[in-house]
Every structure is written in C-alpha cells, then in structure tokens.
Amino acid sequence: MKIPTLVTPELQKQYGRLGRLVALAGALLFALSPYLPWAYPRTALDNMTYLGAPSTVQFLGLSLGVLELFALVGSHMAAGVARVRGTTHLLHRVAWNRAARAGALGMIAFIGLIIVVVALETGGLANLEYGAWIALVAAGIATAGSRFLAPGRESTLDRAPANPVLEILTIAGLLGGSLFLLAFALDQDDGGTFVVLLAHIAIMVTIALRSGVGAWLSLAGQRHRNVLVFSAFAVAFLFPFTQNGSDANMSIATQVLIFATTAVGLNIVVGLAGLLDLGYIAFLGAGAFTAATLSESTFATIGWKPPFIVVMIIAGLISATLGLLIGTPTLRVSGDYLAIVTLAFGEIFRITMNNLDGSDGPDLVHGSSGIPAIPNLNLFGFDFGEPHVIAGITLGRFANYFFLMLLIIAVIIVVFTRLNHSRIGRGWVAIREDERAAEAMGVNVFGLKLLAFAGGAFLAGFAGAVKAHVDVSVTPEQYIFLESAFLLAAIVLGGMGTVLGVIIGATLLKLVPEKLRFMSEYRMLIFGLLMVVMMRFRPEGMVANTRRQLEFHSDDQELAAEVDEDLPYEFVEERA
C-alpha cells in the first residue's frame, strides 16, 4: 500500500519554514477551540456546551493542541542549532518533525471522532456547535502545514546518555498518572466518552513513538525493570482505594485480572513454547469445577472439604493431568494437529460437564445448571465476602478478590519471566524456530513441549479455582470456545511472548465490551476488523517481544545490519 506523495522533498525544502508557521497557527487555534462550545445538547459526550470552560473531553483536545505546539517549537529550535560532528545536541535527538506530523493527524482524528460520535449519539450533525467546526478546520490547517515539514532523521533519544533519576521519576510519574486515568476511564458510563478517551491514549502513544520518546521510555523501562514492575504493582494495588467501596468497577477490574492471569498463563504455551492451544479455557473450567465440587456450597457433590490452598493445588493438578492426557499423543506430531485436538478438547470438556447431570452420566456437577451458591473464601480468618475498612476507605467483596488475583498474577508473571530467561526458555525458542535443528542440539523437544503444555494447564487450573468463588456459580456455558478465542486474541493483540503486552491486550478486550454495551451486537465484527488491521500493520502486537520482532521484520533488520556492517559500532551513532 503506497500513498502518493503530494508534497515532494523539494517542496518540503522550499516551504518547510512556512509550513511550520502555518502548522503553529493551526495548533494554536486548536488549543484555543476547547474554550468554545462544541455541541448544543448537554447529553453529547460530557457537556461541551460552555463558553470559556472546557469539559474533560475538551481538555483532552487541548492537551493534543499544546503537545503539537510543543513539537513545532521544538522543531524550530532544533533547526536553529547547528549540527556538530562527533556530538549530538539533545534537541537533535528528538524527531520533532515526525512528532508534529503525527500530532497534526492525531488532532484531525480526535476531532473527527468527536464529531462522528456526537452526531451518532444525538442524531445529526446539526447538534454540533461552531467550536467543533473551528477545531476541525484548525486541525486541517495544522495537518496541511505539517506536511511541509520533512520527517527528518529518526530519533536517537534512546542513545542519549543514561539519566537514572529522570528515568525513574518518569516511570513512576507515568504509572501514577495511569492510575488516575484508569479510575477516570472506568467511571465513564457514556460509551462515546470512553471511545474518545481510548482514541486520545492511542494518539498520545503514537506521538510518543514517532518522536522517539517512546523508544526512550521503553529503554528506561528495561534499565529500571524493578522500578517499573514495582510501580505497576503499586498502581494496581492502590486502584481499589480510588473506588470508595463501590463494587461496580471493582467487579470489572477483578474479571479483567482473572482474564489477564489466564492470558499470561496461555502465553507460556503459545508465546514461549509456540504451541497453538485453542481449548485453554477448558483448563480454567476444570479448575473452577474442581473448586466448586470441593467447596462448601450446598450443591457441591463431594463431601470432602479441604482448605482452599489444598483445593487450589488439586485444581491445578487436575488441569495439568488433563493437559498431559491431551498433550502426550498430540505433541509428537506437527503443530496443526495440536490446534485441532485442543479445539476439540475444549468442546469435549463443555459437553462432558453438561452430561455429568445424573441422567446422561454421574451427577457430579448438575449438568448445565452447574454448581451455584459457592460461598465466599475465608482464608486465615479473612472473610472475602465482607467489606473491610482500611484507612477510612471501604474495600468491598470484589476488592478482596482483586488483591488475591493480584497475588496470583504476580506468581504467574514470576514463573513466566524466570522460564523465559532460563535454559528451558532458550530451548522453547529453538523449538519454535527450527524443531529438527533443536533436536539435533540435544533439546528434548517432546519433553519441553509437554512441560509447557501441562504447566500452562496447571496455572489455568489455579486461576480457575479462584474464579469459581468470584463468580459464585460455575456452569459449563462460562467455558465456551469463544472465551479461548478471546484469550488468544488478547495475546496476539498485546504481543506474543510478552507480559506487559498481554496484560494490556487482556485489559482492552475485557474492559471495552463492558464499557461499550450499546455496541455489543457488533462486538465480534469489531474484534475481527481489529485483528485484521493488527496483522496488517503490526503483526508483532502492541508490545513487541524483541525476538518476535525479528521474526516479523527480519528483512528490515538484515537491511539495517548490512548498512551498519561497514562501520564499527562507535561510528554508527555519529552517522545517525
């Protein structure tokens, strides 16, 4: 796909300064437009009817305009600083022009989306006030102007000298900000506002990536991995305290966390070992049903009531045994068979559970009605059903389970990363890349595959045991193929073989449908489109695993290596 170039490099050279001025004017106008009313009805998004008092959504637009101004001013200043061979001025490290070009397009996308959403929500374009149209024109001017800026060199921010204090502060600040963003996003009951918010985040991320700030951030994240992980957990831990005892958002958050935990477990199987498992949800289900039958529910069919820790381990072991049963015959043959067998296994599991109803089979799980009324957990005297008050803030039932799931996902993430960087992880990569060669190296291909498969199943069973108590009732219809497909989608969307990506993917896939209930009929259609778009433009997912990225873009890498080959490493930086 090639978009024809209207503005040639010659034109950019000639009119670059003029273009920057035009873009500046456009950006300034865009930044001022939120002070004008954007819509007539108050119900459109979050009441954008006031003159001189922007609403939250309008403030998001304002932030885009200010960012664009910032990029343009930076571009101007960078152009004023002469390039000295051997040193790189900090201003030259940022790809200002690329950021400005992306930012201007982002402004158009943002205001365009708002116009569309308002028109859809209120039934016509007539409901938009002049402010919105001014913003659209301003974004258009900025885009037209920014096209005359030559994109220039790629950012070299990631090669700037390390600055630990700044890096740590930025990480902590960003994650702290994301806590408020998260709390704010969850409070948006209006689907349109939620979509606009998501679009705003996407635009910000794009600008960060184009300017080189994104690369710098990811490098900072790698350098201070511990800070990043700790802050992320701190944010997650503090999240229930922002909810003031309300269970509405906490129940969503807990479901998101269960989904993310399962997805990270599946990612060991799919992302690390490269085994396509289409029936992973059955292992989650096996854990949930095990926990349900061993619970204190009056509908539980097994009289033995071991403590929950024991139940969790039994649930994990039963899932792992099922994994071994499925894996042993199929893992010896090529990958396609595994996909088919696991797909079938998922269905067999669901149908078997339906048949364990007393008429078609033993009455173990009451068939399609499942096991209801599973009581809340009570671990070491801590009752998960009761609200607890800590520092004056009430933490409800879902908050309790949220903390438990946080602990479990932490365990699974540790398992994941330890495995990834171990000898076993290297063996998995080798199997993924070239099974026969791996075998010749002395990699026990079958054994390692089985380990991944059964290990993944064990973790799913573990999470399933908790899920049974969160959901209160366990029925076969909670564990259908669609759920397996969503888990896989979360992995592909987020980034195979990464923890962060999969958590983001899982959060998006679980959160968005909750917030956009009015579009629930089109859910499948939208996800399908999203997948196609991802595969076309970013097959490695939102967060790329470095090894995976090489797999998808090996041509570019080879090209880059060829170019760099002639120069010793020290000189590459200077030339770039």
Binding site: R423, A430, M441, V443, R547
Partner: protein
C-alpha cells in the same frame, strides 16, 4: 569408537540406505563421499537419532545407540552439525552457541568452551549479540561448527560444511577441522568437495545409491581411478 553395521534406513517404501557399514576410530577424520541422493545425510541423521533405522546396529563407545532419542545421543558425546547449517537465524550468536550446550548443566565448563570457540572464530566473539541470520554463509558455518562443539563432543559429525562457501572460506573450514582433530576430537565428515576431504581424511568411504562401494585411507582413494573419474573430475 563408532561402528555402523548393516544399516538400512527407509523413507516409507523407498530405501535410502541399504545395508551400510562403516567404522570410525578414535582421533580419526573419516569422510563419507558420494553424489546427491547417495544416502550420506540420511546416514548421519540416523546415527544422531533423528531417524530410526529399519534394521542394522549403531554402536558408539561400546554402547548401542540406534534406539536412543536424539537428545540423549548428544549427551553421550556425539554432536551433529546438520546439512544447510540450520542455525537459528533470529537468535543471537551467543544464544545459538548456548543452544549447542543445551544438554549440559556444568556452567563453568560451558563458559570455558564458549571461550574456546571464540578463540577459534574471533568473528563470533565480535558479533556475539547480533542475530545470526545477518551473517554470511561462511560465518554461519563457523557458528554451526562452534555450536556443535559446545556440546563438548567426542565425535563430531559435519554435514557438508563447505557447501556454498568461497574457496578462501572453505580453506578456513578445512583448517578448522584439522585443528579440531589435533585437539582430540574425532570427526565424521560428509563432503561434496572430495579432493579437499580426502586430503585430510584418515579413512574414507564412497557411498553410491545407499551402499558403500569403496573404502580405504584418504591417500588410497585419492589415487583410485574410479574416484578420480567420478569425484575428482580427472580423466
């Protein structure tokens, strides 16, 4: 050290190796010559456990290994550098080399052997963090040999190490084989370039359509008329 007796290997109904026998003595370089499709690669793959023979026996250091899985054959001290190099292109040089040591658990020994390989091929040391796929053919071959050495083998099987290499690079590979032999590694070599292989072989076998048709020392075969006509391109 290695003894193959009446080996028969078949792909479905087609027999690729029809009753081959060969012997490799300690500290020797033994070559297996033959045209395409003669069964050389199949023989090596069967010895290393990647294929199962229909009949026949394979003995390595007094132990029968024709039913041993491939990953355990490596542990016994028999390494295989496969045809076409089969390096892992998206992994770094270091990861590739460490995969060669996958069957080992002695961290200190692995580090020593890594240094040994780096001493032998300094280009690998320079580029230890680069993805192996960006390498030239010759460099990839060095990596493949280095990777096989990291399992600290007593017998190293090299399948077509000079394939597609420049004459200069090929000389480098051949001198590497000599150096390895001097270090006490026994080598079973499959090679298209018969002249170069025979010159450094203690013993050689000629394989034709699945059967051994000639055997002798390297010098004997270099002087043999049939070998001269068929493999050395002389009249």
């Amino acid at each position: 050290m290695l003894e193959v007796k009446d080996l028969v290997v078949a792909y479905g109904k087609v027999k690729a190796v029809k009753g081959t026998s060969l012997t490799v003595e300690k500290r020797q370089v033994v070559s297996l010559l033959g045209t395409n499709g003669a069964g050389k690669t199949t023989t090596l793959r069967t010895i290393s456990g990647l294929l199962r023979p229909e009949s026949g026996e394979i003995w390595f250091e007094g132990e029968r290994i024709d039913k041993t899985p491939a990953h355990q054959v490596v542990i016994k001290g028999l390494a295989h550098s496969p045809e076409g190099r089969r390096i892992f292109p998206k992994l770094t040089v270091e990861d590739n080399l460490l995969l060669g040591a996958f069957a080992r658990k002695d961290t200190a020994g692995i580090a020593t052997d890594l240094d040994r390989v780096f001493a032998l091929f300094d280009i690998l040391k320079e580029r230890r963090t680069q993805p192996a796929g960006t390498f030239s053919g010759g460099e990839q071959q060095m990596l493949a040999i280095g990777r096989a050495m990291l399992s600290r083998p007593r017998l190293l099987m090299l399948d077509e190490p000079s394939m597609g290499l420049s004459p200069l690079m090929m000389q480098k590979i051949m001198s590497t084989i000599r150096a390895l032999q001097a270090e006490g590694v026994t080598i079973l070599l499959v090679e298209q370039n018969a002249a170069a292989a025979l010159r450094l072989s203690d013993r050689a076998y000629v394989l034709e359509v699945g059967s051994i048709t000639l055997e002798g020392t390297g010098q004997q075969l270099l002087g043999d008329d049939r070998v001269k006509r068929a493999y050395l391109g002389e009249d």
